[in-house]
Symmetry: C2
Amino acid sequence: MSYSIAEAARRSGLSIDTLRYYERIKLVDPPARDTAGRRAYSDNDLAWLGFLTKLRLTGMSIKRMREYASLRSRGTASAGRRKAILVEQRQAVAERIAELQGCLDILDYKIDNYEQLERRVLEISGTTVPENTMQEISA
Amino acid sequence: MSYSIAEAARRSGLSIDTLRYYERIKLVDPPARDTAGRRAYSDNDLAWLGFLTKLRLTGMSIKRMREYASLRSRGTASAGRRKAILVEQRQAVAERIAELQGCLDILDYKIDNYEQLERRVLEISGTTVPENTMQEISA
DNA sequence: ATTTGACCTGGAGTGCACTCCAGGTCGTAC
DNA sequence: GTACGACCTGGAGTGCACTCCAGGTCAAAT
């Protein structure tokens, strides 16, 4: 099967401009063209775009993705280095997840503070809230 | 206690330039100054910088952090909206963690493919690797 | 007294990842 | 046969979050 750029954009979740941009910066190989010179993406192209969007979701930089892409086009001999990139990225993602988990804990703590404040305001409505309560919340 | 900009940078993990930048864009209140006009950060300032770096780690935009910062300076009345921002961010972080988990699975799958390829190459060293093996790996 | 180093200011520059634009070419629908 | 919509190109523009720079001030050390 072959797909117009609009269809490829729809299926990959990237914009048409981004698709052309990725081609310009050599992140994807130039797709085939139809008789009128319009891009005709193959299933293979789509699969590669799909994988690229996953790498992007992991936070991989375009520079790094280009490195991976260029290794890929050099064939089997580069498999080791490609694997190394993926392993490194796996590590980075795991670390990022841990970091976000830590952030989640902090957010929960702060949200809980706000909830306690709400409860206290309800209880002693009209009374001045002690200064240290605000400290606790804004710190 | 009061800290020089260099010390504040060291303690917050931000650069000196970033500290001045955050002040310029009203993300932090201008700190006190010493007799020579140099910034003197308080423990309170440091605590706020600490929280900001956590928010940044969650991927919150500076625009959103500024919103939070400006609400904070408007006092208790804004607590509800501040809490809402935190709750929303908590949600975004949880979603991002889930997304990264999914990426981790894909990376594991790809890495596993590379490992299988390595084993096959070892076993039948010198033999041509079947075309579909490469497809599986590059898709 | 001068040198050093940390700090100051306003403003310009950077890198990233897109995103938009003007002006042009096709093939199909009316 | 012309109007339309989807596509094409090279290049410029955007938003974000810093980062760097020139030229200057000040207090302590030599």
